[in-house]
């Protein structure tokens, strides 16, 4: 699962997004976002609800076009490059309920025309990596939330993406499941060497997983701060007892707190 493509960075150059709400008023979701998602690194985006974190992820994915600025793919020497292969893990899992676990994980390969035997073998290996061997023939409804999200992770990893997009992947899970999955994901991302972009509400999750944390402002979303996390890897729950961890947590919380309060007190900020 080593990075297949060339090392390509995703640069947001003054990205902004304005859309028309159903009421007809123009909503400024993102404003002048400048940031780099570096190859082989994990970048976390954290910010108050409705600040446009997920929107930024959709723009990076190419599902949304920015209304201002642009998105560029560049090699480390600054040459323009083709878009890297990406795969997303979703907060709502978005598993196909009528497909078995194996068929869900093999779906992307099936779309790409990979022969059945091959894609099923690869899907089985991906499932084994997330400790779900033996659950191939279950339907998503038969699994717990944590297991469903591991299927979601396997479905993305089997595509061997250059960039893994994590859209609040553990947001719908209970706190204990979350802790375990965070550690598992940290290991998977470390060993695969893939580029990852993580959108999250959780400061803990951001610090445990990321190399860089982007703190966003309340709407319109801008990058308020870019914080490097240089804690040693592998990181686990034990890392949270580290003094350096505490300092980072306080720094990010300090930045976020003001923005969250601002989001709560501005009209419609909680949406």
């Amino acid at each position: 699962m080593a990075m297949a493509g060339p090392a390509v960075a995703i640069d947001c150059e003054g990205v902004g997004l304005t859309y028309k709400a159903k009421t007809g008023t123009a909503v400024n979701a993102l404003e002048n976002v400048r940031c780099r998602f570096a190859p082989g690194k994990v970048t976390a985006i954290i910010g108050p609800s409705g600040c446009g974190k997920s929107t930024l992820l959709q723009i990076a994915r190419g599902f949304l076009d920015p209304s201002q600025g642009r998105l560029r793919f560049v090699t480390l020497s600054g040459e323009p490059a083709a878009a890297p292969a990406m795969a997303t893990v979703w907060q709502a899992f978005n598993l196909f309920p009528w497909r078995t676990v194996l068929e869900n994980v093999a779906f992307g390969l099936e779309l790409a025309g990979v022969a059945r035997a091959d894609r099923e073998a690869r899907a089985k290996r991906a499932l084994a990596k997330v400790d779900l061997a033996g659950f191939e023939d279950k339907y998503p409804k038969q699994l717990s939330g944590g297991m469903r999200q591991r299927v979601g992770i396997a479905r993305a990893l089997v595509m061997e993406p250059d960039v893994l997009l994590l859209d609040e992947p553990f947001g719908a899970l209970d706190a204990q499941t979350r802790l375990v999955l965070q550690e598992q994901l940290a290991t998977l991302v470390d060993t695969s060497g893939t580029t990852a972009i993580l959108v999250t509400h959780s400061i803990e999750e951001a610090i445990l997983l990321a190399d860089t944390v982007l703190v966003m402002t309340a709407r319109p979303g801008r990058i308020a701060a870019e914080i490097e996390v240089d804690l040693p890897r592998p990181r686990s729950l034990a890392t949270t007892h580290d003094a350096a961890y505490g300092a980072l947590f306080d720094q990010i919380y300090g930045l976020l707190r003001d923005e969250v309060v601002r989001a709560m007190t501005t009209e419609g900020g909680e949406a």
Partner: protein, 273 residues
């Protein structure tokens, strides 16, 4: 609920046969069939005792004999096959067009706007009222029968396909796009399978209307088919034959309903935990 364990525990060996019979008779399923038997026997006795004219009310035993006779020598099998062919032939046409139109309406706002008004006008119209017009246009042969049958089934199938696709979780479409699905693949591998339970609900409604319409059309114009048979038997006061055809139609209904129930369970296997 409480009675059975109590009686079972205290039942002496001698009385167990009667007790078991009583328990068996009290089972809801047994009771259901016993009620049917009681009505038939009562019917038979009432006709004999009061000496009803069989033109008004024939005895059940005579009806069964007439039914057997019609199957053996009266060509009822041919009639049944004709009716089934018309119902399922028209229904198959409706299924193909209905699903296609439903998908198209779901993915194209323009086509939806075009089709919507026609459906709003045609869907509530009782389709039997189209029989005279269709006879003028198509005559009374196979094309007419297939058209009337298809017309009955197509609207519920269109509307349920549309509904099923609209209810599809947009997150699933996004996930499929993320994994590289083309527009065609999204329709075939996400929207359509997601809509299958809803489409099947449309099929259920549509098939029922098809049967009604084909039998009604056969009563109006047919020389062959269960509807024609029913009507002709009524004309010559062969009441036993009228009842016999009704039995065939009722049995057909039971078979179709039970088959649909079984398919429903299979289709929804991924819905239950």
């Amino acid at each position: 609920m409480l009675e059975r364990p109590l009686t079972d525990a205290s039942t002496p060996v001698a009385g167990s046969g009667w007790r078991r019979l009583a328990t068996w008779l009290g089972e809801p399923k047994t009771l259901g069939w016993l009620a049917v038997a009681a009505v038939l026997i009562g019917w038979e006795l009432v006709v004999i005792v009061f000496g009803f004219n069989p033109i008004y009310l024939p005895r059940p035993t005579r009806i069964v004999l007439a039914l057997i006779e019609m199957f053996r020598n009266g060509g009822l099998t041919t009639d049944l096959l004709y009716t089934l062919g018309r119902v399922f032939g028209g229904f198959a046409i409706a299924l193909v067009f209905g699903v296609a139109i439903g998908i198209w309406m779901a993915i194209s706002e323009r086509f939806n706007a075009i089709a919507d008004n026609f459906i709003a006008a045609l869907y509530p119209l009782p389709k039997v009222t189209l029989i005279p017009l269709l006879i003028i246009w198509l005559g009374t042969g196979g094309p007419f029968m297939l058209t009337i049958s298809a017309l009955g089934a197509v609207f519920p199938i269109v509307l349920n396909t549309l509904l099923g696709i609209r209810q599809c979780d947009p997150g699933l479409v996004l996930a499929a796009r993320d994994l590289g699905a083309t527009r065609g693949q999204i329709i075939r591998m996400v929207l359509l399978p997601g809509a299958v339970p809803s489409i099947f609900a449309g099929i259920r409604l549509g098939l029922g209307v098809s049967i009604i319409l084909v039998v009604a059309a056969e009563m109006v114009v047919g020389k062959l088919g269960l509807g024609a048979r029913l009507y002709l038997a009524g004309q010559v006061l062969e009441t036993e034959q009228v009842f016999a055809v009704l039995i065939v139609l009722a049995t057909l209904g039971i078979v179709i309903t039970k088959t649909q129930d079984a398919i429903d369970v299979w289709l929804n296997r991924w819905r239950v935990a």
